[in-house]
């Protein structure tokens, strides 16, 4: 019997290596796998590259991982936001590399990695400094920039309900980057608010089929914080 549900967060994050690229779901505080991020701090992996839309806020979650000195580089679209003090300090101190990627290009690069597409041409950012040094090409009368797939070693995902095969559904705007990142990592770990019995999720409404998921851990986290 396939059972991807593991007993605790330590088991969910077992084996994450130093130097890994970690895809972290969530947009703002909604759909952020905070328990897994805290678990990653416990787990101890360092020299990480984090891919996330934001660079953390306050002193919890991603900000706490940054503050713990575990992150070498962050790839995101919107590093500065209300409360991104940890990011700002580390960045100013030269202790954090930053790659800014337009939000849609970020999502599409992650999708490309999950879908086996090596690279793609997007009109986004053409003629701007975010296209500096990138190849460009006129396609169908329009200038495009070449962008490469962005895979992760690990994806940390928050779901609303998940079953033992790893099928997931999300809740409202908690979906965001989570299903995209789930497709793009060698090890996709899901923290789920609820565990569903196999067959309880409507096959027409499953957002992330279990094929993309390696481990599921039950974290009845409650509402987004912050």
């Amino acid at each position: 019997m396939i059972d991807k549900i593991v007993g605790d967060i330590a088991a969910a994050l077992d084996g994450v290596r130093d130097g890994s690229t970690i895809l972290v779901g969530g947009f703002g505080a909604v759909g952020q796998p905070d328990a897994l991020i805290e678990g990653l701090i416990e787990q101890g992996a360092r020299d990480l590259t984090v891919v996330a839309n934001n660079a953390g806020a306050g002193l919890v979650g991603l900000a706490k991982l940054l503050a713990a000195g575990r992150v070498r580089k962050i790839i995101c679209s919107f590093p500065r936001s209300a409360g991104s003090v940890v990011f700002e300090e580390l960045f100013k101190a030269g202790r954090l590399e930053l790659e800014i990627v337009p939000q849609g290009t970020l999502a599409e690069r992650i999708r490309a990695a999950g879908a086996g597409v090596g690279a793609f041409y997007t009109p986004t950012a053409y003629g701007t400094k975010l296209a500096d040094g990138k190849e460009s090409r006129m396609i169908a009368g329009r200038n495009h920039v070449l962008e490469f797939a962005l895979p992760g070693d690990v994806a940390l995902v928050e779901a609303w309900r998940a079953d033992r095969w790893g099928n997931c559904v999300f809740r409202e705007s908690g979906r965001n980057f989570n299903p995209v990142m789930a497709t793009a990592a060698g090890l996709t770990v899901v923290q789920t608010q609820h565990v569903a019995a196999l067959g309880d999720l409507d096959p027409e409404a499953i957002v992330t089929p279990g094929i993309f998921v390696q481990r599921v851990v039950h974290v009845p986290y409650g509402d987004p914080r912050g």
Binding site: L98, I100, G104, T105, A107, E172, D223
Partner: protein
Amino acid sequence: MTDVTVLTRHEMARRVAQDIPEGWYVNLGIGIPTMVADCIPDGREVLLHSENGILGMGAAPAPDQINPWLINAGKQHVTLRQGGAFFHHADSFAMIRGGHIDLCVLGAFEVAENGDIANWATSAADAAPAVGGAMDLAVGAKRIWVVTEHTTKQGAPKLVERCAYPLTALGAVSRIYTNLAVIDVTREGFVVLEMVPGLTLEALQAQTGAALRLKDKQDV
């Protein structure tokens, strides 16, 4: 200028909302653009899109009816209308990049007479600017309207011949709503469609960094 009543931020948002017809799919940027949502007349079905995977956003919730799972791209709590839908980020930006959004309303630091827009970084030296979805929206939506004060707080023009700030997108903007005027961006440059009462073209020109002309009657 003493007799001129400039529009408030809310009036600017309301002026934009007037021009959005029923049936359009619209993405609203942060700031004044977000305020447009509450200015769309009741009963006019305009479908609001948010980058974080929402189509059919409704009004802001009452304080006691906040759903912590439902935020817009500006991280404000919102509601979902009947008929709305959720989807993931790649699908959301497929809608944007794929030209399915009829209109995106953005704020801007500068708009050039060739339609270039700068709205994400305040200097080329800023090493950590937050671009978010601005570049995707600026190239992807069918039309980009900018809503902004006509000048900076220091009185410097925001409508210019060429942008000095780092660009968001080239030639993207088709219309600008300011606290003083509504201006089209055309192949011939800025064309003034309307001004607030009491304002002269000369006075408007004095606060604008590129040549303006009034729309001819026969342009209509």
